[in-house]
């Protein structure tokens, strides 16, 4: 049942990886259905300064064949927990300049509370489980980032 409902509803959901610039306004307006009253959007972008260290640009890479299915799993899990109607997740890959958007998560719901909760849960889980990696290029070198609460402890050594 849950699966069927997900499949029906998810016709308007979208999960994308792209190397093109993200148009946040356009992405969020793709999840505006007639029964809804609110869309909550997270716009994540490249920060110039982190604890006094200057970032010049970032490069994101993904295991695309696994990242998209993982995003869809997150979406199905979000629907189990929250009264939401549509979900859109778009993550950019490749080189990003300062201020450019890396990720957009848009969630539409009849009531805003569910949209806020689902959007916050989705970005937390995306950062934890979706196979995407960020390499920061600082003025004085580069480094692969460590994620937040990655599932290493749960899966394998």
């Amino acid at each position: 049942m849950a699966k069927t409902e997900f499949e029906t509803r998810s016709q308007t959901d979208f999960f994308e990886l792209t190397t093109k610039k993200l148009d946040v306004g356009a992405i969020m307006r793709r999840v505006v259905p007639a029964e809804c009253g609110a869309t909550v959007v997270l716009d994540g972008y490249v920060r110039q300064w982190t604890s006094g260290k200057e970032t010049l640009y970032l490069v994101y890479e993904a295991y695309e064949a696994m990242a998209l299915p993982e995003m869809k799993k997150l979406s199905a899990a979000a629907r189990e927990q929250f009264e939401i109607t549509h979900i859109g997740i778009v993550h950019r890959l490749g080189r990003l300049e300062i201020g450019e958007t890396s990720v957009v998560i848009a969630v539409a719901a009849p009531h805003r509370k569910a949209a806020f909760s689902a959007c916050e849960w989705l970005i937390m889980e995306l950062k934890r489980t979706v196979p995407i990696w960020k390499k920061e290029f600082y003025a004085d070198g580069s480094a692969w980032m460590k994620g937040e609460n990655t599932p290493a402890a749960e899966h394998g050594s």
Binding site: G44, Y60, E61, A62, Y63, A65, M66, A67, P69, H91, S102, V103, I123, L126, K127, R128, T129, V130, P131, I132, W133, K134, K135, W144, M145, K146, G147, T150, P151, A152, E154, H155, G156, S157
Partner: protein, 89 residues
Amino acid sequence: MSKNNRDNICVKVLFFGAAREAAGTEEVDIFTTFPATVQTVKDAVFSRYEKVSLFARSLMISVNREYAADETAVNDLDEIAFLPPVSGG
């Protein structure tokens, strides 16, 4: 160990992020014998790519695009990915 050709399996190993840079390659075929687990593949990879073993404790492994444990069985032609801690978002 195996006397029988049918016991030989070949898995495709993918490296990402810091593990890809450590391995110096995106992809390699690893040959081993059946039955095998994720741990068998890790041991083979770590002995061949010493730098990758430096990530051993933080690496996640996927088998056919699903997160897997060290005990997970692997079969001929499986796609095994070596995944450093993810940092999307």
